[in-house]
């Protein structure tokens, strides 16, 4: 299926993914601690589920240890409609579950709202996932998109400057 959307209406993040499994199974992978501990988390880093209260306003807390450093992550659930829809706000947290900023970047949003829709066709399940910063309104979302597009088109001299910055970052 075509996944291009008009830029002005696109959420910050849109991912569509098909899994070769019925949607109950796919959905349950998000709903059960044992399942989450087997696949969720930073790539290649096992997580420990600290708490899972899978219901609206409930939360999921987990920790991951890499290179001797322990990071905590948190979801706070929004709407949950079994096998069809899952919403949650994700963030980093401290040990006590209080939301904190990403350890690796000041610019990473404090909280990200995630909405996952599950649909099944011929035994395969499609997840359509949308994500955007919690504090961003639609106008702001459009603003970043416009800025990003503007930069991609390049305003004469400034584009070269951006290029230069990027080459330093890489």
């Amino acid at each position: 299926m075509e996944s291009k959307h008009p830029t002005s209406e696109a959420p910050e993040l849109l991912i569509t993914r098909v899994f070769d499994a019925p949607k109950q199974l796919v959905f349950n992978a998000f709903a059960e601690a044992e399942a989450l501990s087997q696949w969720w988390g930073p790539p290649g880093v096992p997580i420990t589920v600290v708490q899972l209260d899978f219901r609206p306003k409930g939360s999921f807390l987990y920790k991951a240890t890499m290179q001797g450093q322990t990071a905590h992550g948190k979801f706070v659930y929004g709407q949950i409609s079994k096998y069809d829809l899952l919403e949650f706000t994700s963030s980093f947290s401290d040990e006590a579950g209080r939301t904190i900023r990403a350890p690796f970047s000041q610019q990473f949003p404090l909280e990200i709202f995630n909405r996952l829709e599950f649909s099944e066709l011929n035994g395969k399940t499609t997840i359509t996932m949308k994500g955007y910063p919690v504090n961003a309104s639609e106008a702001e979302t459009q603003f970043y998109t416009a800025m990003k597009n503007g930069m991609q088109q390049g305003f004469a001299g400034t584009f070269a400057q951006l290029d230069h910055y990027l080459s330093k970052l890489l």
């Binding site: 993914r17 109950q24 199974l25 992978a29 930073p42 790539p43 990473f108 970043y144 400034t158």
Partner: protein
């Protein structure tokens, strides 16, 4: 008083500030020229500019008697960068979800049992099947 944390998302939460960034991202402008574009006091515009400066979204350069505002592109780039990082994070998690799903389905097949949990069964009061594997 609480420490006011300046972050880029907060900076651009205000429509006037977004408009200011839009203006100065096209060309450097001096403070007066920016203020002329808005139907508000110069002080109010200056305050918005100050916030943008504190967030690192614009830079102010003194040129003779004039102060010019310039958009800082790295910061703007970082605003959109989180999307790329986050996308990658989810793609990787979806990869491992995919593996997990394959694994549990092949386990179900090899034990010759259809998916236990999803089949409807009559309520079983005394015994709770904990799936002792």
């Amino acid at each position: 008083m609480m420490e006011a944390r300046r972050d880029v998302f907060q900076a651009i939460a205000d429509p006037t500030r977004r408009e200011i960034i839009n203006l100065v991202s096209q060309e450097s402008m001096n403070l007066n020229a920016i203020a002329d574009r808005f139907d508000m006091t110069r002080q109010a515009v200056s305050l918005h500019i100050k916030i943008l400066q504190e967030c690192g979204l614009i830079m102010i350069n003194q040129q003779g008697r004039e102060r010019f505002c310039e958009a800082k592109l790295t910061q703007l780039k970082e605003i959109s960068d989180w999307v790329d990082q986050y996308r990658q994070f989810w793609q990787q998690n979806f990869d491992s979800l995919d593996k997990y799903l394959q694994k549990i389905q092949s386990t179900n097949k090899s034990t010759g049992k259809p998916t236990k949990k999803s089949t409807t069964q009559s309520p079983n009061k005394s015994k709770r099947n904990k799936n002792g594997k």
